[in-house]
């Protein structure tokens, strides 16, 4: 699996959505499952998938599918 595929799969699994909706418009609270509980689940799943530990600012600012790609670059994960 490429990093891109891994990243998309985390979103698909965390929010029970189709790959097709994953774009810059896929943002926090855009679906009922992306509430605060879903957000913590997303972060935990990304940390596990990419073996990283995210800092508070990055957790809080992880506001969309595309923003997340920029954020992961800070952890040397190229998507």
């Amino acid at each position: 699996m490429t990093n891109r595929e891994k990243y998309e799969q985390v979103f698909v699994d965390s929010f029970a959505v189709d790959k097709g909706v994953l774009s810059e418009t896929f943002t926090y609270q855009c679906v009922p499952t992306w509430d605060s509980v879903g957000h913590m689940g997303l972060i935990a799943a990304l940390e596990e998938a990419f073996e990283i530990q995210m800092e508070m600012d990055d957790i809080i600012d992880f506001s969309s599918f595309t923003k997340g790609i920029e954020t992961l670059a800070k952890y040397n994960v190229a998507i």
Partner: protein, 467 residues
Amino acid sequence: MSFFDALDLHGDAPAVISEQDAVVTYAELARAADAVGAHLVGRPLVFVVCENSAASISGYLGCLRARAVPLLLGRSITPESLASLVSLYQPEFLWLPTEHPARATAGADVHRDGPYALVRTGATGGAPLHDELAMLLTTSGTTGSPMLVRLSRENITSNAAAIASYLGITDAERPITTLPMHYTYGLSIINSHLLRGSAILATDRAVIDRGFWQMLTRHGATSLGGVPYTYEMLKRLGFAKMELPTLRTITQAGGKLSPALAREFATVCEAKGIRFVVMYGQSEATARMSYLPSERAIDKAGSIGIAIPEGMFWLEDASGQPVTAADTEGELVYRGPNVSLGYSGSRADLAKGDENKGTLRTGDLATRDADGFYYITGRKKRFLKLFGNRVNLDDVERLLSDMGHACACAGRDDHLVIYATGDVDTIALRASISAQMSIHPSAVTVRTIAQLPRSESGKLLYSALPQ
């Protein structure tokens, strides 16, 4: 004078500050409340669809000031659940956000205040409300069960006063909301601070939202509250390393925090000069029944503390006899002016008076140590707290049965486990039951089991379910 009657005492002091930095003073809040209240003639029943905002709070206060009876509901209530409650209780009015889907068919607007509208439903002939009844709260909203708790003016005012007293709340406090307004714990934070003239920073943002921390910092929040899940999020966000110079107090209720996490936060807070106050309560006792003084947060980690001012606890064994020995389990019983009048399952029940007469069997099992501090050890009743919300396990079983699945429900707080038999798509079932209960699916696990264990009399044997 009740805090809701005495708002003008605080005059031009800020009462509610919004995310957009709009400030509503106590005097302005009172005027806005009375503008709503002017329509509430003859003690009507009013459904208040809540959010953490000045408009929502003013409608709620308008009801109390006009002696109308509000039922507080969450903004996320499904149109079906709301319609069912409207049908059962025949409220004369609704106070709700103008964009709420229910507004279209609710009735006629009689008053508007910014984002909220007062709608007259046209319902008449509902049974009159008992004189002592002042407010209604839901118990188990997530399973659509319409059981409400009936509260008196004395319940509301005495609990606000007790909480303000043991937390030492003053007009210098600036609590930031972290919990829904219609939820007993969230409401108690609002009430106890309105009593003392504090400025409430009102937001519906979660602690994982950048906007929450910006608001906290910009307005110098001095306190916040949280259910166990909030504390898990705060831990994950690195609360220990955060610079929060204005924060003086954090409180915890809505379920049992693990002793380890309680001790961890107590220790971190001591180092930061923040008071960490664990509390316990139920909507059946208005809000709070106990608190753990912050100076005992470390050595009594895991305890719910001692009864609030004017309240008292004791333990009763299975035959109803008081448990006098230390460290011995019994049912926790509470007596105090904040014990609700009783429940309601229908409009007719709103005419009932005080059935509890000041004493509440909490349904929780507890022990008391040699120093008089209480510890919750279990529950008599079959329910869980999912992210602070009470979920009755038998109700969930009924919901599943209605969907055609014979299941047993168990688990622990924040982790509901459904044992299903037959050919079940566990993923689909988990998705649909969580959507029905408005609970995040991650809190639900569905397991298949060949047969539900039953006793000889045919009752479900929860103790025999695989762990």
